[in-house]
Symmetry: C2
Subunit: 418 residues, 2 copies
């Protein structure tokens, strides 16, 4: 069994969102080294030592992140030395490497960075090409401890590129197959009722060696359905999970927009690319977030032309030809304004499709009859247009996200009806 | 001591990023109920029971999240009943409430949602106004377990609005004062050297009852410096942490852009508002993310007018008056194009400042002499303009983030020099 030990007061006081454990868990799971538990502890010697001892009661492989920086508040190294009853000693190889790397950039090692060359005597030191904190690999009594720095970029690089090949050799035991189906536009409990028969079939598919499971992973208005098969023979797992996926497609096909890592934005990208179509946007309340979701997809420049972000009403008038009378009479958050934004966007960019949003993300900006969370979204091509209003009642950030996701889903449906 | 138990296979296999623990930890810490450890376990009865038992060896208050949904994969309730040797029984009040809420929306309770009214017999049931999963509060042998649903919006609402007042009454013991200082543009180890004396002073400030600590929280190119004082008298903590903050300002003032929750975008907002100034943007590689960072700040419509997202070169030509010859001769990612984008943006929007980005976020798009991660960023007002190139060598998402943060930092410096 494998565990992760996340070290840092900043995680325990909520000042930093830990993303390392999620990255590590996903990478390890995908490589058949599933993580069975994750513990987060603070930056004290006792908490770290207790954390290691507690985890080693359950796991054979323990990967820690954090507390390896050059500053005084980072004490993972000291705690590890104490846990293993070993000393910290200067590693000349690490020191020479750090000195050379600093010299290349015309810098000399300051005293704090020199301290990075002090390592627990019993540790195997693994070279860190992307930072100053060396990685330790310690094996004792059948238990393996690996320490990684907490800076996400470094941690990710080291785990994926430096450690993974060796971990795969030593720790892979069970076959795992996973299929993820991405669903939008149906509440979780309704979906579960649609899938009742499949769910039962999955539960009855267990054998003495194979185990199957269906998980519902809701996130705002999307749900990821995850079929996991583990144990036994990989081919057998592949066949059965593929069969279950087909059964889910038959039962809930019209709500499925993609598979695996597909996001609604990457799915839109595929649809546009397949159709040789192009897209532009006109955003008010989403303020660039819709464009960001679209352009977060590598290669989106092939189909996405650009956006007018018309936060100010004058920009709506000048850039999107929204009439002052329309803004005056119906307001910026209205079907009429949304329609004119769409028409202006299509005219300006000449793309196959245009997508427009205008709403109130909050917390301010409420007007009579238009509470915070109201949005008008529209999609159009040369022949037709659809506008629709939605209402969400969440934080500013969640509202912006829901507005943008809803816009992409409207575009998805619009394209499919073509 | 307080612990969080995060329940869900989707966290352990890395398919869902847990944000609940960070939210809960931050809220509790801010209310003097610091979290001392966080454990994540899977959706099996044994793992949940072991998790509770293990945590109760260390903590008196345990808050769990997750596994309370209506679908079969959610088994927290069953595990809790088993841990406490109690039965699940139907709670008529919960059932009546759910039925009434569904009826209001013209729906009848489906069988899965009816199951939400089954609760552990020994639990005090707390009404959940924002979802179907009731909250359980169980006290036994001096240990308190509280279960929250895993859906972030629900969990946040319940913890903050329903549970917090009661938790404050029962669990607040220690005074805590925290000051956060936000820094940009200096590496962590250099900053630590600047702050060496302050750091020592902080370490020597301990008394038998008071404890002080300085933490460095780096995140890409920003660092949050966090002074924490705990124990003893609140006024004393306030005074000493304020003194340390002043000492840090004296030592590293030119790198400080804000305090507490300030982001570089909210800081820019303050600067613009104070100066009665306005801003518009012209984005290529950042694809709306820069506008999103700016408009994520509530009230940004007071100073932010909008953006031209010119993903396609034709949009650069038509909307920002970038000359075809410039694109031809120097390429889209060049100082010359950046300067023309700036001029076009300023002319089009007539705002006080314009900010422009053009670069290669990757992984594709590399051209000779312009590797992935290259970006030109420019800022201008009517009198002057500055353009600068940066190079980052990270993932597409990180590059986009670093481009946008660097742009905001350039604007910050530009405004301060005014």
């Amino acid at each position: 069994m494998t565990g992760l030990l996340i070290i840092g007061d900043e995680i325990l006081n909520g000042n930093v969102q830990d993303t390392n454990s999620s990255f590590a868990a996903r990478l390890l799971f995908g490589n058949n080294i599933p993580v069975s538990t994750i513990h987060t502890v603070g930056d004290t010697e006792q908490a770290i030592k207790d954390g290691i001892a507690n985890m080693f009661e359950k796991v054979d492989l323990l990967i820690s992140t954090g507390g390896l920086g050059p500053t005084k508040d980072d004490i993972t190294k000291t705690a590890i030395a104490s846990y293993y009853n070993t000393a910290l000693e200067r590693n000349e190889e690490v020191l020479a490497d750090l000195t050379a790397r600093y010299a290349k950039r015309g810098l000399s090692l300051n005293e704090l960075n020199q301290g990075q060359a002090m390592v627990p005597a019993i540790a195997e030191v693994i070279h860190n090409p992307v930072g100053t904190a060396p990685v330790f690999w310690i094996e004792q009594k059948g238990k393996t401890l690996i320490t990684l720095p907490g800076v996400p970029g470094e941690m990710r690089y080291l785990l994926e590129n430096v450690l993974l090949p060796r971990l795969r050799e030593k720790f892979v035991t069970t076959a795992i197959v996973q299929k993820t189906i991405n669903v939008i536009g149906i509440p979780e409990s309704e979906l579960a009722i649609l899938l009742k028969n499949v769910d039962e079939e999955i539960e009855q598919a267990h054998t003495p060696t194979e185990h199957y499971k269906l998980a519902y992973l809701p996130n705002l208005n999307c749900i990821r359905l995850q079929i996991t098969g583990s144990g036994g023979d990989k081919n057998q797992l592949e066949q059965k999970t593929a069969y279950f996926q087909k059964a889910i497609e038959n039962a809930a096909g019209r709500f499925i927009f993609g598979y695996g890592d597909d996001s609604i934005a990457s799915h839109i990208g595929k649809l546009l690319r397949e159709g040789g179509a192009t897209l532009s946007t006109a955003e008010s309340c989403t303020g660039g977030y819709l464009a960001h979701l679209i352009t977060a997809i590598a290669g989106s420049s092939d189909y996405y032309w650009g956006s007018i972000i018309s936060y100010h009403n004058l920009v709506k008038e000048h850039e999107l030809e929204v009439k002052p009378e329309t803004l005056e009479k119906y307001g910026a958050v209205s079907e009429e304004t949304c329609q004119e934004m769409l028409a202006g966007c299509l005219k300006k960019f000449g793309t196959t499709y245009a997508l427009a949003t205008t709403g109130i993300a909050g917390p301010g900006g409420e007007t009579p009859g238009k509470p915070v969370g109201t949005v008008w979204i529209g999609v159009a091509d040369k022949e037709r247009s659809v506008t629709k209003s939605y209402f969400f009642n969440r934080s500013r950030a969640d509202n912006i996200h829901l507005f943008a996701i809803s816009a992409l889903d409207m575009l998805r449906k619009f394209i499919k009806e073509d």
